[in-house]
């Protein structure tokens, strides 16, 4: 019999695991000694990326160049860039820390992030490419009345981008204390300034190449660590698992547990533990991850950078492959951290906890297998990761404002390329400043919920509107807009009254949260879809007739690509 309070405590611990891996919250970090090797390596990365930006700037002249790199990215390159967007700093540090702490549960967690990709491939990728030009609103508003749908899509984009951005900025601030030993505010300002330079001057070309380079560096670094760990165990997973279980048992014994219980605790890393305590939360969170991936604006915009549907498909296949491979690596790295880091007193404090907190698992392991220079490399890569993700987010926010709001809603499609470009650059600067200000404002806040909220909103607002507009003839302007906003509002509202925000962030007493589950997606997605269906069915307006009449032409183009916007400018 589980009491209400234990249940809540368990839920909170599940939220904790979720938060670590979700790419957001690295918790409050303690400032470490200044690490000049890491700072130097990061400096080299920055100089290199600035050269790329200079090269990209020469190619960035039109709006098409700015938003989509002129459509000249190949499927393989785009796959790496998408994988780069997804392999955030905290999914690297957080998932390996989760595996170190609880073994198998970390694997369950990372799998959730992977399973959305096939759904994107099967239902959306090529249709997006065939229908859209710059933003996902091009697709969602294809046959509808432009103004209301664009306003909705821009709102959906900006809300998702805002939460994701704050999470990344706060993560950057915490990371810089851990990795470089510098002050929190420095990170926020460095990230804000560099990101503005990439986006302003290099547009999508620079943003994509920075992301590709980072993805390659991260995959190489993580591969090296996993290789060294496996080499140590003669490439036998069994040997690695056996050693990890032995160490976990020894730690439990040292903690005063009787032999039998200690053995049980040691072995618990080999099977599912506390991660799945409450099936509703798990399924709801799984839905947010699975369908949220198909509604993240900074991911969706990457489908417009490739020349055609074939390359769009190839890019998701590459992205899925790299992300899957990366999660296998983080799993090995987590077990490697148990055997190398938890046994080495130089990485531990007096109580046996990791110096700098659990998120340092991969960083300490880098030191153990590759020495100080490799430690610097991995730290620099982890920080570069945030920078690249933030640049992509800002670009997608800026295109929502300039392409959807300014060019389509305010100028009614009559804006010239130069003024649209100017608006997107002004927006980039504004978003950069807002991100820095919010990053500093949220320093001491518990923002664990933010990335999962971004996924939940993407799954409940952007994804239903996109899917229904593309696949269901009966969908109308009114249905899409009302249903989309219902999904958006319900996912935000349910998150606010969930334990992660109501109790952990707003400080209300434990047990007072009205909504008991980790993620709202199961409910808010339903609200979004039912809303779109209901208000479309009830819509008897003249506009509804126009919307439905436009479906055939839209479907033909989405299926065949005939008439699709080509690789403009090349």
């Amino acid at each position: 019999m589980i009491t209400r309070n234990t249940l809540i405590a368990l839920l909170l611990s599940a939220v904790g695991v979720a938060a670590y891996a979700a790419g957001a919250d690295l918790g409050q970090a303690e400032k470490q000694a200044t690490n000049w090797t890491a700072i130097g390596m990061f400096g080299v990365f920055v100089i290199f990326t600035l050269f790329i930006t200079k090269w990209a700037a020469a190619k960035t002249k039109s709006t098409a160049d700015f938003y989509t790199a002129g459509g000249g990215i190949t499927g393989f390159q785009n796959g790496l860039a998408i994988a780069g967007d997804y392999m955030s700093a905290a999914s690297f540090l957080g998932i390996s820390a989760a595996v170190m702490a609880s073994g198998f549960d970390g694997l369950i967690y990372s799998i959730g992030f992977l399973v959305g990709w096939p759904v994107v491939t099967f239902l959306l990728a090529e249709r997006l490419r065939n229908l859209g030009k710059f933003t996902f609103a091009d697709v969602a508003a294809f046959r509808f009345s432009q103004t209301p749908v664009r306003v909705f899509a821009a709102s959906g984009t900006l809300v998702v981008v805002a939460f994701y951005l704050i999470a990344q900025m706060v993560g950057a601030g915490q990371l810089i204390k851990l990795l470089f030993g510098l002050e929190y505010w420095m990170a926020v300002v460095i990230v804000g300034a560099l990101m503005m330079v990439y986006v302003l001057f290099g547009g999508m070309t620079a943003t994509t190449w920075v992301q590709i380079i980072k993805a390659i560096m991260l995959l190489c670094g993580a591969s090296f660590m996993a290789f060294m760990v496996m080499l140590h165990f003669g490439f036998s997973p069994e040997a690695m698992f056996a050693e990890a279980v032995k160490i976990k048992t020894a730690i439990a014994t040292k903690g005063g547990k009787p032999a039998e219980e200690a053995a049980k605790i040691g072995f618990s890393i080999m099977g599912p533990g506390n991660f799945v305590k409450d099936p509703i939360s798990t399924i709801s969170f799984g839905m947010a991850l699975m369908f949220g991936t198909a509604g993240l604006p900074h991911i969706l915009m990457r489908f417009f950078t490739v020349p055609n549907a074939k390359e769009a498909r190839k890019s998701v296949l590459w992205a899925t492959t790299w992300i899957g491979y990366f999660y296998v690596l983080t799993f090995i790295i987590g077990f490697g951290a148990i055997t190398y880091v938890l046994t080495n007193p130089s990485f531990l404090d007096a109580k046996g906890a990791l110096l700098g907190g659990n998120n340092m698992a991969a960083i300490h392991l880098a030191n153990a297998v590759g020495g100080n220079v490799f430690l610097g490399f991995i730290s620099a890569v982890a920080f570069a990761t945030i920078l690249a993700v933030v640049a992509g987010l800002t670009l997608s926010g800026a295109s929502a404002v300039s392409h959807d709001l300014y060019a389509t809603v305010i100028k009614q499609g009559k804006a010239d390329s130069a003024s649209e470009l100017r608006v997107s650059k002004i927006t980039t600067v504004c978003l950069g400043i807002v991100a820095v200000v919010l990053g500093i404002a949220f320093e001491k806040q518990n923002i664990a919920f933010m990335v999962s909220l971004a996924f939940a909103i993407a799954a409940s607002a952007n994804f239903p509107v996109l899917l229904m507009s593309v696949l269901w003839k009966g969908c109308t302007t009114r249905g899409a807009v009302i249903g989309g906003f219902l999904g958006l509002l319900s996912s935000v509202a349910l998150t606010v009254v969930s334990p992660a925000v109501w109790e952990a962030t707003l400080g209300n007493p434990k047990g007072s949260a009205l909504f008991p589950y980790t993620s709202p997606a199961l409910f808010s997605m339903t609200i979004g879809f039912v809303g779109i269906w209901l208000f479309s069915v009830l819509d008897g307006s003249q506009r509804a007739a126009v919307d439905k009449a436009g479906f055939l032409a839209q479907q033909v183009r989405s299926e065949t690509g005939i008439g699709a916007a080509g690789a403009s400018g090349h």
């Binding site: 096939p118 698992f241 072995f267 899925t320 899957g324 005939i562």
Partner: protein, 102 residues
């Protein structure tokens, strides 16, 4: 696109075949992915002892290959779709293009 052209394409048997095949494949594979993922969640939520059972003499449990299977399945199923689409669907599209735009 002019409505006339769209209507002509929509009536073409190659288009009908393309649309039906892709849609059927897409939904089947989506169903398969959801079955595998939520099946995995059910296994780790309700069949914990089974997932924590050792495979042989060592400490490796059934949960490990099952988890790796889900990762591999995700990549393979994406590959299956992309392979068929890049081959068959693009061929049908090109045929259609030729047939209606001549």
């Amino acid at each position: 696109m002019e409505t006339d052209l769209a209507t002509r394409i929509a009536a073409h048997p190659t288009y009908q075949k393309l649309k039906a095949t892709r849609s059927r494949l897409g939904w089947w594979l989506t169903g398969a992915m959801m079955l595998v993922y939520y099946g995995f969640i059910v296994l780790v939520a309700y069949f914990k002892p089974l997932m924590s059972t050792r495979i042989g003499e060592g400490v490796t449990t059934w949960g490990m290959p099952v988890g790796l299977f889900v990762i591999a399945f995700t990549i393979v199923i994406t590959g299956i779709y992309v392979r068929r689409a890049n081959d068959e669907f693009d061929r049908l599209s090109a045929e259609l293009n030729k047939a209606v735009l001549k």
